[in-house]
Symmetry: C2
Subunit: 167 residues, 2 copies
């Protein structure tokens, strides 16, 4: 058996698995952004608040002062890890999905930014404290592919179309 | 005021702040690893189980099948985000610390690997299911610097010596 075959641990994606992953994203009000530090390229991992457009595309809202803001403006390739550890026991047993994305900042005073604002506030009302501060900006995270881990030994590779599509 | 000054939002680090950050790391049994995908350099963010050596240096245990294993073996620079969202309200209000690290794999059958195994099992007993599987490996994450976010507007830059030192 070739090495690449022996290391193939991904299972076939069923509609149920894709629905599980979409459900995690639909239910989450925060996530962890993986980015590359501006200037150094050092990997970073930082918490972001999360909402989605109607088609499932993630929306994040970031201060101009945050290190990950400079990161994704310099290198739009990023990742988003969605899924929490809500209880006791092995934290690796709880499902999570990692989205490989490209970030695109929304211009203020556009219909798309207004829709992002509405959706961010609907999912996270406390964001009202800072959503309109002038240095905050919405970003769309265009999903290119993803990996879903449903718990130990349950790994799946997902395509964009498993997660993003008509509402 | 120069732009660099106007964007300076970090507060002075007090012993209490460093202790808060060390406490987060001491209490966590999982974290999110930021890494760079092998081959592409695409930023990734993935859940890992967490323990620490006596001096506070993080220990993670990773399967040879995980994408982040190949990532940190190709690019040892990585990040570790520690801190959970334990309740309701604004998820951005809960503290977290991001460690900028270099990963170093531990050779099996060394005293250091035995100590890592003991500490991983002490913090996460469920890891007994896979800790001895042959493709799993312990990594030390050597902390170079960190940023601590104690909640909205409470940002601090930490040095290695704020987090790692004599036990």
């Amino acid at each position: 058996m070739a090495k690449s075959e022996s290391r193939e641990v991904y299972r076939p994606v069923t509609p149920e698995v894709a629905a599980e992953a979409r459900g995690l994203i639909a239910d989450a009000d925060h996530a962890v952004l993986g980015s590359a530090e501006a200037g150094t390229g050092w990997p970073m991992a930082s918490r972001v608040s999360l909402a989605t457009f109607a088609d499932g595309t993630p929306i994040i809202l970031i201060s101009g002062l945050a290190a990950h803001r400079a990161a994704i403006e310099a290198e739009p390739r990023c990742a988003l890890l969605v899924g929490s550890v809500p209880g006791k026991g092995d934290p690796m047993a709880y499902p999570r999905v990692m989205l490989y994305c490209r970030a695109r900042g929304l211009d203020p005073d556009t219909p798309e930014a207004a829709e992002a604002r509405r959706r961010v506030l609907a999912r996270n009302p406390k964001a009202a404290l800072y959503v309109d501060l002038p240095d905050f900006r919405f970003f769309r995270l265009e999903v290119e592919r993803a990996s879903y881990n449903g718990g130990f030994g349950r790994g799946y590779r997902l395509r964009r179309e498993d997660l993003v599509g008509a509402d």
